[in-house]
């Protein structure tokens, strides 16, 4: 801070408090809506103060799903989301870290070609190649399976680049020392590289977990069997009601549950999250 001007400090705090409130407003309203009975919504406007029906709403949603609108219990969808997010995050990290290891620590024919093949995946997000990718999955019989949900999203250029950068900054003396001591490449990888990249792995995991959890279009296409629906893909189906008004309190409870795990990860692992975000954009 250059000079101490009181009115500027007051203004800064006022702007920030206003910003925090505006950013939180939609979530607050959803939270309030999830604590009321469904009858409340028939009469005009959404209430602004919490009701007393919170426990009933959430336990009903978790156990039985939404009676009239869908059959799957929400805990099952949460489980599916968790499996998909974990498979995507862990899968991306494993295949990227081994690829980066191969590219940085070995010389072999077609090294440049391999690097470019991985680089190209950056330019092919799912949204761009949905129809043909869907066809591949269908031909391989991977519709309605966890493998079909996660594997087509797993290749990752950003993660490979990140690990490549990390490995390039590690001193060459480490390899020389390891070779003098008679350690092979895999022993070096396991006992030296992995421990040294621990925080990078953790930071990347936070970002990739959020990425995996929030997938929407892909699960929507690949899972026609409701027992594989993820919570983010499922919430849209609940809002489409053919007859009558949607059960707002239940839908908003599901929305809260859908955002809770990734938001908790950001709030409780803020340092790793920020590190991961900044590193993956380099």
């Amino acid at each position: 801070m250059v000079e101490n001007q009181r009115w500027l400090n007051v203004l800064a705090h006022a702007v920030l408090i206003l910003g925090v409130l505006v950013v939180a407003l939609p979530v607050y309203i959803a939270l309030v809506a999830s604590t009321h009975e469904s009858g409340v919504f028939l009469s005009g406007v959404i209430p602004m103060l919490p009701g007393r029906n919170m426990v009933e709403t959430y336990s009903a949603v978790l156990r039985g799903g939404l009676s009239s609108q869908m059959s799957q219990p929400i805990w099952l969808m949460l489980g599916n989301s968790m499996i998909m997010a974990m498979m995507i995050a862990v899968g991306k990290i494993v295949i990227s870290i081994t690829s980066a290891f191969a590219i940085v620590y070995f010389r072999f024919p077609f090294r440049g070609l391999a690097f470019w093949m991985i680089f190209i995946t950056l330019m092919l997000p799912v949204e761009v190649r949905i129809l043909p990718t869907y066809k591949v999955i269908a031909d391989l019989g991977m519709l309605n399976s966890y493998a079909g949900l996660s594997i087509p999203l797993i290749a990752s250029a950003t993660a490979t680049f990140l690990f490549r950068q990390v490995f390039l900054t590690m001193p060459d003396e480490l390899v020389e020392a390891a070779r003098i001591d008679g350690a092979g490449p895999m022993k070096f990888f396991r006992d030296i590289l992995l421990p040294l990249s621990r925080t990078n792995i953790a930071a990347l995991f936070v970002i990739l977990f959020i990425y995996g959890w929030n997938q929407y279009l892909w699960p929507l296409l690949v899972t026609t069997d409701p027992s594989y629906t993820t919570i983010v893909a499922g919430i849209k189906r609940m809002t489409d009601v053919a007859d009558g008004t949607p059960q707002w309190n239940y839908i908003m409870a599901v929305a809260m549950l859908a955002m809770l795990p990734p938001v908790a990860v950001v709030v409780f692992m803020q340092r790793l999250f920020v590190k991961g975000l900044i590193e993956t954009e380099k």
Partner: protein, 294 residues
Amino acid sequence: MQNKRAIFGAKGLPYLLLAPQLIITAIFFLWPAGQAIWQSFLREDAFGIKTTFVALENYSRLFADPSYLNALKVTVVFALSTAALSMGVALVLALAVDRTLRSARIYSTLLIWPYAVAPAVAGVLWWFMFNPTIGILPYLLKGVGYGWNHALDRGDAMTLVVISAAWKQISYNFLFFVAGLQAIPASLREAAAIDGAGPVRRFWTITLPLLSPTTFFLLVVTIVYTMFDTFGVIDAITEGGPAQSTNILVYKVYQDGFVGLNLGSSAAQSVVLMGIVIVLTVIQFRFVERRVNY
């Protein structure tokens, strides 16, 4: 490519290490992309029996199709409005946080969590707030004499998807603006202050120019985000309506391919999108490389 001085000599091992990533890339990325390019030169008849090679006809039809040109225009309006709104708000908040000392961390925590909310969930939240029958904001707007209905009014629909998409992206832009502000040497601002420049003048002549690499980088990232990651927002709120007014390119590929089953046109649209991603990626790598130091 940078190289290491000390390396291992194993012959087969590197291929084994690369295999999982390359196999997945080949099957689920390169093969489908090739299929899309090949499909874009073909046309299937109405019954899906006969396929003929039509060269560039799918493309010429596409760019003569008013609904595709509309989707292009809608995408540009959507991307630029979302970028302007989310970056503007983020910059103001970052400047404010930069002035606070002890409380900066708490404010940051309270501002960055929307990054973790899925676009589809963000869409549902805003859709609920702006619901024409029971939503809070339409109720307040009615008080000032404005009848909000994003299911019927094209402007309302676009406003709503822009707000929802921007809401999610503020946190990201905020974090990078804060990092960019911290990278500006305090001595520059102090020197300007000694020379008699007030806070507003210092912002325009020192802070903003020095932030321009960050700003450019965030502009590219936010455009990529609005073009490819906002499918959930559009699908949850408007499904491209009313009257195609929020039908962005990515949503149209999905609609024409999965709902309309027009394979040739959908493939041609995919190829156009690939071209756009390639251009954006090249910009990002070519011009944004030396942007900020953390």
